[in-house]
Symmetry: C2
């Protein structure tokens, strides 16, 4: 490890949210004398982007989203934060970045000893979409959220949500809670198409109960415009026309790799930046972390792109430690994730059924519906549990859950079991907690595990 007394060490970080600021804070903790410069293209740093839907739903104020201001970062943590500054190019030979101030367009060069690319991801734009359309929105950063907040006036009667994944479902509920008419469009034959069909059905049923229209197997095409505003979309295959006042795009995201690619850094098979297990990119002085990188899947060992918040923060911390001279390893991810759709929680960990088949051969699954708390308690609901496991030996490969009462957190038991390499018999032996308000005597996970053991023994 380099001496902490050395004052000339400079770390430059591209991107001022989860991964970037976790790294910056870690570097300053380990090497207080280091210069740490963070360049953020947008006007905000250190805000809770996953909290934006809750601001839009009026659950929290906009202020609550701001975690640390640039001033606080500077004064309390000694991190030099530059918003509205875009890193245009990396001169790897010289060890310097070219930075442009987004308003003055003034450019300058900054030398680095270590560089972190934490450029995140951006919404994917379908071929029919014109980004300039005034009433077409997506949601990735606070600026997107502010634009949406302004557009969601009482004049905006109808909102069309394009995409039936996590963000689309979450935002459909937000729009509905604000009193808009909401239609959700999904190209696949069901929403949450990578989940088990029972989970998709459950989510769709929940949306319909909230008076959200759901159209599946619907491929948007042929937009019509009214001046600068998108007026309608025709849906293939039946040319049904969907008009709306606001269109919300939630058709996936894509890693921001332009800077890395232009600098000659290696991208991986997923299209995201390739890194080793210390999160070093294909240049000894350059690290990358967060939604712009691909990581090793803990079950398959293969590179995967799993852009989720906890991983980004964890990666930022590890990259920061390594930039400061430590040697920490990122163990890879399982793809554990959760979404809250109103009160319905949907979560998963590990592989989908088809991923499991591709990597592990003959695979089985079970689905159970079981009490989430004691059946006699008020507010009891059903939890849906899906387990995906190898036919040969019952090894757990993936799990999905849907339900209420924090069921999205109960997936963590299965994430832990996956990391430990448990099989469904071991799962059935788990000694889980019980109290009538928090679980039935037979936890839904145990009921699913018992069903899996039974299926294996057939």
């Amino acid at each position: 490890m380099l001496s902490t007394k050395e004052t000339s060490f400079t770390a430059v970080i591209v991107g001022g949210n989860g991964a970037g600021l976790s790294a910056a804070s870690k570097i300053k903790r380990l090497r207080p004398s280091a210069r740490v410069l963070v360049f953020e293209k947008g006007p905000h740093v250190s805000y809770a982007n996953c909290g934006i839907p809750f601001w839009l739903a009026a659950d929290i104020s906009e202020n609550a989203l701001i975690l640390l201001s640039p001033d606080t970062l500077r004064q309390k943590r000694g991190i030099d934060v530059f918003t509205r500054h875009e890193v245009m190019a990396i001169d790897r030979k010289a060890g310097a970045v070219q930075v442009r101030h987004c308003e003055t367009l003034r450019e300058f060069e900054v030398a680095y000893d270590r560089l972190l690319i934490a450029t995140g991801a951006s919404p994917r734009l379908p071929s029919w979409a014109i980004p300039e359309a005034q009433n077409l929105f997506s949601l990735r950063d606070l600026t997107d959220g502010q634009a949406l907040q302004q557009a969601l006036t009482s004049d905006a009667r109808k909102v069309a949500v394009i995409g039936g994944g996590y963000l689309g479902l979450e935002m459909a509920m937000v729009f509905r809670r604000r009193g808009h008419d909401v239609v959700l469009l999904e190209r696949a034959l069901r929403i949450l198409p990578t989940f088990h069909s029972k989970i998709s059905e459950r989510a769709e049923q929940y949306l319909r109960q909230q008076d959200i229209a759901v159209i599946t197997g619907a491929q948007p095409d042929a937009p019509t415009y009214d001046g600068p505003r998108l007026r309608s979309l025709r849906l293939l295959p039946d040319y049904r026309e969907i008009q709306a006042d606001v269109f919300f795009l939630a058709a996936g995201i894509t890693p921001n790799v332009d800077l890395a690619r232009a600098s000659g850094l290696q991208l991986g098979p997923t299209g995201a930046i390739a890194v080793d297990d210390t999160l070093r990119a294909s240049d000894a002085q350059i690290f990358a972390a967060g939604d712009c990188i691909e990581v090793r899947h803990r079950l398959t060992g293969e590179p995967v792109w799993l852009p989720f918040g906890p991983a980004a923060n964890k990666q930022g911390r590890i990259a920061g430690a390594n930039m400061a001279g430590e040697r920490q390893r990122y163990a890879g991810a399982l793809g554990t994730s959760a979404v809250t759709i109103g009160e319905l929680e949907v979560a998963r960990t590990g592989l989908t059924f088809s991923e499991a088949e591709r990597h592990f051969g003959s695979v089985e699954s079970v689905v159970v519906q079981a009490h989430d708390i004691a059946g006699y308690m008020p507010g009891e609901k059903r939890a849906t549990v899906v387990l995906i496991f190898r036919r040969r030996d019952g090894r757990l490969l993936g799990a999905e859950m849907a339900g209420f009462h924090g069921i999205g957190k109960r997936i963590d038991v299965l994430a832990t079991a996956l990391q430990a390499g448990m099989d469904v018999r071991q799962l059935a032996e788990l000694d889980l907690s019980y109290s009538p308000t928090i679980a039935p005597v037979w936890d839904p996970i145990l009921i699913a595990a018992n069903a899996a053991v039974k299926k294996l023994s057939k």
Copy 2:
């Protein structure tokens, strides 16, 4: 396995709740032609005894507690249930039990091929307590609950709860919610004395916030009576006098082993019935399950008495399968448990600090207070997480949690990690779910694991 066509097979089960009825149902499922006779001393079978506090708190009706009536058990499951019938003796040589009807006192003999002892546990009576006192209650079965329900009139202004464990804390809140003045007495210097002191403090603080008086280091002694009613207790060491209208005894429970002992069956070092891992007692034809047996601790391999509902149900199922001719193994328990005290949840799994020291030598612990959901979300509270781990290699040995929002269920992650033999470094690598309504980006368990890793590396 015996032929399912054989009709002469008779299973006799002593005790008609969790363990007993789980076994009975399992036997009938595996061997539909078997005669399955269940003898229950009390007037009720198949009721949710953990639900009784919620009936007393008026959260649910008394009817909701009844899971299956004797008629349903007979008609739907083919189980012959006899309430108010006490098994007085076992004639192991003859393979028969002596049964007495509790009202008529008529006795008869029933031959068995396999016998299950599922006699449960009973409240422990302190030396000063006279069980006949009309206003002294405890809570183990529905009859106890009914007696308490009748006694809790508006005349009963003050309730003294004796014992600061799970039941005492849970019931103190029930009495308070019913509008009584409540004082909780605990002999040890803090409530929940086997937990980390930070968990005890948190629970005590919560009780005081609910206007429940808590007196610790208080040993009841010298009761005074007013005819058949207990009037007051003097507390050692300072002879403070506590008067109350209702006294509630929650000073622990003890396994019901009289029948087993009188039959010459072996008891274990804990005082509960000794069984092998198929739950067979020291007689080839006799099994035992539930709160009356001791089991192997999964971490230490030693016999322990862990009388919790999920284990009793699981053991009943396994004993039933084995009585029906299968050979299933009970893997032992970790002692995972939880209690709900109003809205506060407290849970644990694995060993206490001192148990861990006794079995594993040099042990460390960490305590963290962390956001239970995203810090900016309404209703965010602090979760307290305690990890107990081996100094040498960081192996996890025990964990405790306290908090709100289903924190009592989040202990299951640590129960799973314990079963898998994880160390705190592996714990810190867990890929846990995240959504602002259900967790912060850094789950409290990860924050605790990071603190433990840091402590280890010192």
